[in-house]
């Protein structure tokens, strides 16, 4: 906790986006997380991404479960909709919300405990259904909120603050998502906003479920020597597979794509995401190879970051279920509830 609220005054030269907002207009309540928590940097990166994308705050919904990471949603876009669900249930609640109102931008924030232990099944099904949402896992290898027990993402041999080594094999959310058919898989680091912000923007514009595993150190329980999720360890063992540059539609692309290593991907609304392979032989359009490569990094004790996999044009939950185009709130009552005769006709069709 800080002794004061963040003063409302701001730098007079702070630029405004096309909606007339400065970055600070996308802030939320003052963080109550520990000083130096990686999650707060993720919050700052999210704010930067929303601001750069001109996202109207009243058209977004912030979804979360339980954990320090899940508290993040309180700290940005105070004007947005939101739902703070029970532990691990955020994916299902978001699926439901999206089913009812497909017109909002869904931003799910979870933790490694919230997503890979209690909420694992929920996460798998949201991926499988391809719910259109940004799904951020703030991954610190521990249950921060309950004082630092190893989580399911802790690496074998990584030590607790008291020196005890973890013996259980880790679940890597990126590998999990790749194996379940996710169409957007990325990994980044809270301590590297130049990488994280463009990836968040690309994920927000993706036309399906976008999973971003963000290594986000827990300064209080998992930032010591011996931890494999500390600031220092991540910096020393990070290997960047691709470098992402996200170009919103209204910005002209000025740098020519003469560089053969640069690939441009047209997003659904015409914006362009470009990435550069920084690792020779890496192909983020090939699921099998991507899986093999990320897995090899894991075995070598390296942290593969960047945009790991992307596939455009996958059918999302609404396309598969062939639901109505408009959000339910926008349907006239007569269409939303067509009456007894319509129900009878439907029932007859099943006879």
């Amino acid at each position: 906790m800080t002794s004061i609220q963040k003063p409302q005054v701001r730098h007079p030269g702070l630029p405004k986006n096309t909606l007339g907002y400065t970055k600070r207009d996308y802030e939320g309540a003052m963080s109550t997380l520990c000083a130096g928590c990686g999650h707060d940097s993720v919050t700052a990166a999210l704010i930067q991404a929303f601001w750069e994308l001109d996202l109207p705050p009243n058209r977004a919904a912030k979804m979360s479960g339980i954990g320090c990471s899940s508290k993040t949603t309180a700290y940005f876009m105070k004007q947005s909709h939101g739902f703070n669900s029970v532990h691990g249930r955020m994916p299902s609640v978001t699926s439901g919300a999206s089913a009812a109102n497909r017109g909002l931008t869904y931003i799910g924030i979870s933790g490694d405990g919230d997503s890979l232990s209690i909420g694992m099944g929920q996460l798998c099904h949201a991926i499988r259904r391809n719910v259109r949402m940004l799904y951020v896992i703030e991954n610190n290898g521990v249950y921060g909120l309950t004082k630092g027990q190893f989580s399911a993402s802790a690496d074998i041999g990584s030590t607790s603050k008291k020196g005890e080594a973890n013996v259980q094999p880790p679940i890597d959310p990126a590998l999990l998502a790749l194996s379940l058919g996710a169409t957007f898989v990325a990994r980044s680091f809270s301590g590297d906003k130049t990488q994280l912000v463009p990836i968040l923007k690309a994920g927000l514009m993706h036309d399906g479920f976008a999973l971003i595993d963000v290594i986000s150190p827990c300064v209080s329980f998992n930032d010591h020597e011996g931890s494999t999720k500390s600031y220092r360890f991540t910096r020393e063992h990070e290997v960047e597979m691709t470098e992402v540059d996200f170009v919103p539609i209204r910005h002209e692309i000025t740098t020519a794509d003469s560089d053969a290593a640069v690939t441009a991907v047209q997003m659904h609304d015409g914006t362009v995401m470009r990435f550069r392979k920084t690792d020779e032989g890496y192909d983020p359009n090939d699921r099998e190879k991507a899986y093999a490569h990320v897995r090899a990094c894991q075995m070598a004790g390296e942290v593969a970051t960047g945009l790991l996999f992307i596939q455009r044009g996958g059918a999302d939950m609404h396309a598969v279920a062939r639901t109505v185009e408009r959000p339910l709130v926008e349907l006239p009552y007569s269409e939303l509830c067509p009456g007894k005769s319509a129900l009878d006709t439907l029932m007859d069709s099943y006879r």
């Binding site: 004061i4 005054v9 730098h11 030269g13 000083a35 707060d40 940097s41 700052a44």
Partner: protein, 607 residues
């Protein structure tokens, strides 16, 4: 860009904009906090240590601190520093037993001061406690110089002057009132160890145009500073109904407002140029306009109009200004006659030293000004020193005070057979302001209150006499709000690079986007890569050494930091800390040890 050396007091001193801009380096945030705590006497004494005349300056100071104040860059209006100084002065208790005293046993050195204006009085203030025998020669019957005879008492009541001049004189200066020094040679012959010339710039400038010397018009054409002195001495008690003032500096402002109090009803101040070039301070212009004085721009005096042996008006050329090759040039667009009964010339002051013989080893330059060293105030004659308006022409009270401090150091060196150039550098104390987790020894929250407005005496009462003070001072409520507007710039953000883990918490929390972690570069390049544009190039940027994990550097644009301490509160490793900075200013007779110890006392007091 090399890492900033914060062990040099200069970096942190410059962050305290007000103190840096004050010629005497008054510890502004320190004394404002004391006011906030209701410790008016302590606040007064902290002021007095550097500016000597807090009550006088709290009413009349030119306030170079206020345009510099960081709060002005944050919400448009600086803290009302000057007005708060007056609060401390008005509400202080009896301080006689806390003033410096002169030792019973003198040091055997005799010093003569010419003039009893603010600069000479400051010299006396600094030398008397060291055991000097100080004699002050003053032409007038009372001390204060122009503060007494020119600054009208509706701005500066006599009681305030009497008290603060008295504090110095009562230490035991020998006062020779009514004694004009008419020969420097004779003065030196009296065997003083040193002589200080603080005689001011006593000559008002002339306007040599048609009609000026016409015998019939002469009685109605006045020199501003002489006329103000005559009003002070009650030699002049009235003026015509319609008065024209030539010039738009501070003297003009006092002339027009005084005229309104001795019978004038229609007063016009005439300026050659447009408002943005006026010399008078904006607040003086406002005060004059509040008193229904008209200010006319772009008029150049052409001649005095005399009809039937009587001054009836003044003719002006109306100027149209334009820019040519980066220079302002004027064209005459027409002429106009402004009818009036009296004219007051307020177009500047000159120095005059007819009483200093030119064969004493005391050099004068081509403009008949003494050759004086900018740092030591020593003339070309080792035992004669100059300061205040006498040294380099008219300035203001606070500069006169600072000159006095510096000259006193030189005089003390001279009398102790030390080189005058042997001067102590500024020092500093830097003490953590941390009291515990998220708890500081200062009030770190930002108060969004707007600048408090000074209440003025109602017009009818004001015009009834020259002695009715116009500014009524702040109410307790206004004081409480205004002190909270201070951003405590002296509680500095202090960075220890080896502790930083580059978590970005400080960068993310800073409400005014001061902080950036970046790959090092030269200054011009770094300034383009900050979290928010570096709008103000006069403010420094702080650059740390290489950070342990990535070898990038922490960069802080000092421009609009609120000193809210949030960076330090959100830092997990205490790499950022808030530290109370105290500038250690050496005065005459100070040793390194003595400046440190007196200021530790004041740092403690500021908590």
């Amino acid at each position: 860009m090399a890492p900033t050396n914060v062990n040099d007091p200069h970096h942190y001193h410059k962050v305290v904009d007000c103190q840096y801009a004050c010629p005497a380096h008054t510890n502004v945030p320190g004394y404002l906090r004391l006011i906030a705590q209701g410790r008016y006497t302590d606040s007064y004494l902290m002021n007095r240590a550097s500016n000597v005349f807090p009550g006088i300056l709290g009413r009349t100071c030119d306030r170079p601190c206020e345009p510099a104040c960081r709060r002005g860059r944050v919400d448009g209006k600086p803290v009302a520093i000057c007005r708060l100084k007056r609060v401390a002065a008005d509400l202080r208790d009896d301080i006689t037993d806390q003033l410096p005293t002169a030792p019973a046993v003198k040091n055997g050195k005799r010093v003569a001061l010419v003039g009893a204006g603010p600069s000479a009085l400051t010299v006396a203030n600094d030398l008397l406690p060291l055991g000097y025998d100080v004699t002050i020669y003053e032409k007038n019957a009372q001390p204060g110089g122009l503060m007494r005879v020119n600054i009208p008492s509706f701005r500066l009541p006599a009681k305030v002057l009497d008290d603060e001049c008295g504090y110095i004189i009562n230490m035991g200066a020998t006062m020779k009132y009514g004694t004009e020094v008419s020969s420097m040679k004779a003065l030196l012959a009296e065997g003083y160890d040193a002589v200080y010339v603080g005689s001011g710039a006593p000559k008002g400038k002339e306007l040599d145009i048609e009609g000026r010397w016409d015998e019939s018009a002469k009685p109605n054409i006045h020199i501003g500073i002489e006329w103000l002195a005559n009003v002070h001495f009650e030699h002049v008690e009235k003026i015509g109904k319609r008065v024209v003032i030539i010039g738009v500096g501070n003297t003009a402002m006092d002339c027009c407002r005084t005229a309104k109090r001795v019978g004038a009803t229609d007063v016009k101040v005439i300026a050659r140029r447009s408002r943005k070039y006026f010399k008078a301070s904006p607040w003086e212009l406002e005060d004059a306009e509040e008193e229904q004085v008209a200010i006319l721009e772009n008029h150049a005096p052409k001649r005095f109009v005399i009809e039937n042996g009587k001054l009836v008006g003044m003719e002006f050329e109306q100027l149209a200004w334009s820019e040519e090759g980066g220079k302002q040039v004027s064209k005459v667009a027409g002429t106009v006659i402004i009818p009036c009964d009296d004219v007051i010339l307020a177009i500047g002051q000159d120095n005059a030293f007819p009483w200093i013989e030119r064969d004493l080893g005391l050099e004068f330059d081509q403009w008949e000004m003494p050759v004086v060293d900018k740092v030591t105030h020593q003339s070309t004659r080792a035992d004669v020193f100059f300061g205040g308006d006498a040294a380099w022409g008219p300035q203001n009270i606070i500069w006169a005070v600072e000159h006095g401090h510096q000259a006193a150091i030189s005089i003390h060196n001279h009398c102790s057979a030390a080189p005058v150039t042997e001067r102590l550098e500024y020092g500093m104390n830097l003490v953590s302001a941390k009291l515990g987790m998220q708890s500081w020894s200062y009030h770190n929250d930002f108060n969004p209150s707007p600048r408090q407005k000074m209440t003025h005496e109602e017009l009818v009462k004001r015009f009834s006499s020259v002695n009715v003070e116009v500014e009524l001072g702040y109410t307790p409520e206004q004081t409480a709000l205004e002190v909270q507007r201070c951003l405590n710039c002296d509680v500095e953000t202090h960075f220890t690079d080896k502790l930083c883990i580059e978590c970005d918490a400080c960068v993310d929390v800073c409400p005014v986007s001061c902080l950036t972690i970046a790959v090092v570069g030269d200054e011009a390049d770094l300034r383009t890569r900050l979290s928010a544009p570096a709008a103000n190039m006069t403010q420094d940027i702080f650059v740390s050494g290489a950070l342990p994990q990535t070898k990038r550097v922490m960069v802080k644009d000092e421009d609009i930091c609120l000193h809210c301490g949030l960076c330090a509160e959100r830092c997990p490793t205490a790499a950022w800390d808030m530290r109370k900075f105290d500038l250690l200013v050496p005065y005459a007779g100070a040793t390194l040890e003595s400046i440190v110890s007196t200021h530790i006392a004041s740092a403690g007091a500021a908590r």
